[in-house]
Symmetry: C2
Subunit: 140 residues, 2 copies
């Protein structure tokens, strides 16, 4: 909890270290891209952002890094669009709102939302996550 209020690159390095990730240049830039805005980004958006600033970061590194962040629990993967995966820097329990027309993905705070009556899981299974996705569209 209590991530730094300002997403400086130093704070990003700190965050990475606290998640057991060696804070390299590229990783810091990628983390900064993800954490310093509320919209969720896809891999190619991350790449575009990171490559505006100084050095180039390769596609392979962006994908490697995003997967690393996933593994280390720094971000969550949100699958709403068959053409690309979004990465969500918020790993606390919450849900998602997906605007079909614009492709924008935002959070729904789980605070008020209650889901009850889910059937028991099949034997030998454990829950990996519950994704509640509300798809909306601009009124015609």
């Amino acid at each position: 909890m209590m991530n730094a209020m300002h997403y400086t690159r130093d704070n990003m390095a700190e965050l990475l270290r606290s998640h057991d990730i060696n804070p390299t240049h590229q990783r810091i830039e990628i983390a900064h891209a993800l954490f310093s805005r509320q919209e969720h980004l896809s891999a190619d958006q991350v790449m575009a952002i990171v490559n505006t600033r100084h050095s180039e970061t390769s596609k392979a590194t962006v994908y490697n890094t995003l997967r690393l962040f996933l593994d280390k629990g720094l971000v969550r993967e949100v699958i709403v669009d068959p053409t690309k995966v979004f990465f969500d820097p918020n790993t606390s329990p919450h849900h998602h709102l997906y605007e079909i027309d614009t492709g924008r993905l935002s959070d729904i705070d789980a605070g008020q939302v209650r889901i009850s009556g889910l059937p028991p899981l099949p034997a030998g299974m454990v829950t990996e996550g519950i994704d509640l996705i509300v798809r909306v569209r601009r009124k015609a």
Copy 2:
């Protein structure tokens, strides 16, 4: 409602007609593939199944047809896996269980499930659908 209890090709033709779809050979085969099993299929699975039986059906036709079925409300699209879209012949309200290891997708009856406390939608937006996806994995 009251789809035929047996998924004969004649019944499929009937089903298609009732959804305002011209029942061609290929469409009947594809509908049959989707409706005659409880697992949800992806486009390439549909293609594999349809092409075991007699005539060949082209990739383009499979995709065209699945989109047509979608538009006509015959099937639903389920997006759980970044690598492929699943098609669900059940359009009544229900949720999904996704087995991460195997890639199998099955239904959760919405009967008992209750979702409450969703925040109001942003102004000018209408809900297009609410997807509740439970991701499970075989216990280690």
